[in-house]
């Protein structure tokens, strides 16, 4: 866990009989207890079978910090997300954001309609898509410098949904072909 303080350099310099700094307020950069909780007791760590037709896998990366995040959803026949798993390699905020995302995404619906005219999947109203990074950041009290971690989690959800929809479209196409 990264924790660092900026301290006044007064003590070693007392040897030289002069203080180069006036005492400053010590700035702590520490993780909020909610983030620590998710880090120490992560929910839903693991993997689902990515080859399963009802599993959507979202894989995202954040180049600036080198974080990688995988979020998977399992959707039942009625279009409800019944299970979610994540694996994140990165900072505590990224881990907590993805852990929280899997908690929130469970029970949400995935809906879409097959557009007969355009022969395409048109997006319905995804409850799961309503999860925004700002909500994640607010819940975890993320500082501004870590907001991109919550964005990464939101993008992971979107990627998982997109993958799931792709698979469903293929299934639909195969079904149509089979019936011809």
């Amino acid at each position: 866990m990264a924790m660092f303080c900026l301290q006044s350099c007064a003590s070693p310099l007392v040897l030289f009989g002069r203080r180069l700094f006036t005492p400053r307020v010590i700035t702590h950069c520490s993780y909020h207890k909610k983030v620590v909780d998710h880090y120490e007791n992560p929910r839903n760590v693991g993997s689902l079978d990515k080859n399963d037709q009802n599993v959507g896998t979202g894989l995202v990366g954040a180049p600036a910090c080198g974080d990688v995040m995988k979020l998977q959803i399992q959707v039942d026949d009625s279009g409800k997300i019944v299970d979610a798993r994540f694996k994140t390699f990165g900072c505590g905020s990224a881990i907590a954001s993805s852990s929280l995302a899997t908690e929130w995404v469970k029970g949400k619906s995935v809906s879409w309609a097959y557009d007969d005219q355009n022969k395409d999947m048109s997006l319905g109203v995804d409850e799961a898509l309503k999860i925004k990074n700002t909500d994640i950041a607010k819940e975890l009290c993320l500082p501004p410098v870590k907001l991109h971690c919550s964005m990464l989690a939101e993008d992971a959800i979107k990627a998982a949904l997109s993958d799931y929809r792709f698979k469903q479209r293929d299934k639909q196409d195969n079904g149509v072909k089979a019936s011809i």
Binding site: L6, L15, F16, V60, A62, A64, G66, F89, M151, L152
Partner: protein, 261 residues
Amino acid sequence: MLSLLARPRSSRGFRAVINCVAASRPSSSDLPPRGGPGPAERRPPRAGPPVRVVPRRSFGSAPAAPGCWRCGQSHAERPAFFCSSCRAVQPPDGSASLFQVLGCNHSFTLDTQQLQKRYLQLQRTLHPDNFSQKTKEEQEYSEHQSALLNRAYRTLLKPLSRGLYMLELEGMPIEEGTDSTADPSFLMQLMELNEAVEEALTPEEANRIGQDTKVKLKELTAQIDDALGKGEHQAAKALLIQMKYFANIEEKVKEQLDKLM
């Protein structure tokens, strides 16, 4: 943290302060802008309030005045650490790149031994320890210069930070946020590598992954060198991004080895 020269003359205090300066000094870019030093009578009158000019990558201070703050003598070379005439320590030159600060060629290939030598040479003269009996102004300037040297050394020492800095100078920093153009199979490969490190049960297993990662990093360093040498900044950026991911894996291997040993 780098280990400092063990000169017999060097006091424990010097070492403690160097480490303190290196580890806890706020970066000079966090310090308030210094439009110029000292009371008005020491410097030539200005037309207006000090203008804060921020080049692509500056160190917070406005570009140094063209001459010495104390005697007005113009600087013989840039960046000037000491006045060529009265030898007063100068504030950092905000327009100088980190390469210029440590007297290196602006290139990805760097002789790190030369770099360290130059860094230590400069710290020996600029460290705040040497200014404890001088004026408050000179103490402040030496602090800023010392902090700048630390930052320059840290940035230029490792290929990753050096390359990223070079991109920043070209106005192409790596933005924060998700990379929507990332290759999914590459991300999957990274996931699997990370998982393998996490699941390594013996130091040998972890070391094997560590060795493979080192080889990959060396390959990337050569490719980045080639790309930057040809001015292919987009290509270099993509390679540096890969390097960042692998550097993280290298860190994870070290942590895992600590756990297993």
